[in-house]
Amino acid sequence: MAINFSWFYKLTKPLNRILNKNGQAYNLTMLNPIKKDHADALRTTLAKIPVVDVDSPLANFPLTHFARFNVIDSLPFVGAPALYDHLQNQYLVFSCVFDTGNTNWRSVGSDLDAYLKQMFEAMPTEINSIWGHCVDFPEPLTLSAFQDFVKKYQIGGGFFFADYPNNTAEEARRALFEQKQFIDFVIKAQEISDHAQLKADFYQFSKNLADAPTPPPGSIFTSSVVKE
């Protein structure tokens, strides 16, 4: 007789929601059943998203660190005497790490809503073209219907590890941009023998750097604020 653990899962549901967050970072995982015979079209849709990150629709808003889509056709079979699990449907897994800007575990619900709002505004076409292949996708699409759809298929709980949990993607990109600029400055400054000139150049560089905009999400920084 199978043991029923549903009481355990009900009991741990609020905890599982909290576990989506580590520091200010939130990990959203969704497992959506794909409509019958839509998996190939969904794969083609995903393959048409620009592969260069800066051109991705996810780069249209600054909150996402990483995101992935996997189409699951069947479950793995690890060999006898294990049982073979056969799925009747194909599934879409979406997992992303995004910024909430706060470390308050009580705000996990509103954090997700805020992210989905930005996503909804930044990439409505892609939301339709990707999740439109999934069961239950709301049509016509509204923000609240999209938020409810995501929450219905969200998986929580477990152990979410983050190496820099308190830094936003924007902060990471800014720091990486400044790192590249400073390296350029250090190389150039090796030619300066006059100490007063070095000091003046450093503070001019700091000013130029402060005025320089952070490159967009998904970009690889090539421009320099250091004058030749």
């Binding site: 497992l31 592969v51 996810l58 479950l75 690890v78 152990f159 400044e178 790192q179 503070y203 999400p217």
Partner: protein, 209 residues
């Protein structure tokens, strides 16, 4: 599509869990989280090539379109966003955190243990799903680059503030000391190993351009 985006690799693994041990697995994952939160020097942080990772349980009833009883196992879903090659990653996992991995994965059906590494790799390979689309917000940087850049930014602001009233000669001395302090944070970032041109071509073909 590819498991690579810039310098990051996306690994996705689904391994079957015995339903009657799943609750124990969840308790262990919770303890692992508490242990990692309590330490700034956890084994996973020491690896310094994982941006974000997650282990979570997919219960039989989470496959929402399946009939009850269709899925017999719960599944341990593992995601990671890391730098380097797949082999380097699994080798490092097996070398550095074998006991932690065994504790988390031992409840998976037919898990061979994380040491020796060859059956462990075979098990991961068997249960891994390729990525259909992968996005990275800072593709030119590895985990170490991000942490170093954040440290450098902080130190640079302090140096600029503390040195503004120094005489030129004292400034030069302070500047040199500052460079010695941050020298390990001055690494180059840039394009990753991905064959961007090839992917662009493939993408253009799909679009019919």
């Amino acid at each position: 599509m590819s498991n690579l985006a810039g310098k990051a690799y996306a690994i996705t693994v689904l391994s079957p869990l015995k339903p009657w041990t799943t609750w124990l697995n969840q308790v262990i994952l919770l303890r692992a989280r508490q242990a990692a939160a309590a330490s700034n020097d956890s084994s996973l942080k020491k690896l310094t090539f994982i941006h974000y990772a997650r282990w979570q349980v997919v219960r039989r009833q989470d496959w929402l379109a399946e009939e009850p009883g269709q899925v017999k196992y719960n599944y341990l879903l593992f995601f990671s966003n890391f730098n380097g090659t797949w082999d380097q990653y699994i080798d490092a996992f097996s070398d550095v955190v074998p006991s932690g991995l065994n504790l988390i994965w031992r409840w998976s059906v037919k898990f061979p243990g994380s040491v020796p590494v060859t059956p462990f790799k075979q098990y991961i390979r068997l249960n891994q799903f390729d990525t259909d689309y992968y996005y990275n917000a800072y593709p030119g940087a590895a985990t170490t680059d991000v942490k170093a850049a954040l440290y450098l930014k902080d130190q640079m602001a302090k140096f600029a503030e503390n040195s503004k009233d120094l005489e030129p000669a004292a400034f030069k001395e302070a500047y040199n000391k500052f460079l010695i302090n941050v020298q390990n944070s001055l690494m180059s970032t840039g394009t990753g190993p991905r064959f961007t041109e090839r992917h662009n071509d493939a993408s253009r073909e799909l679009k019919g351009v």
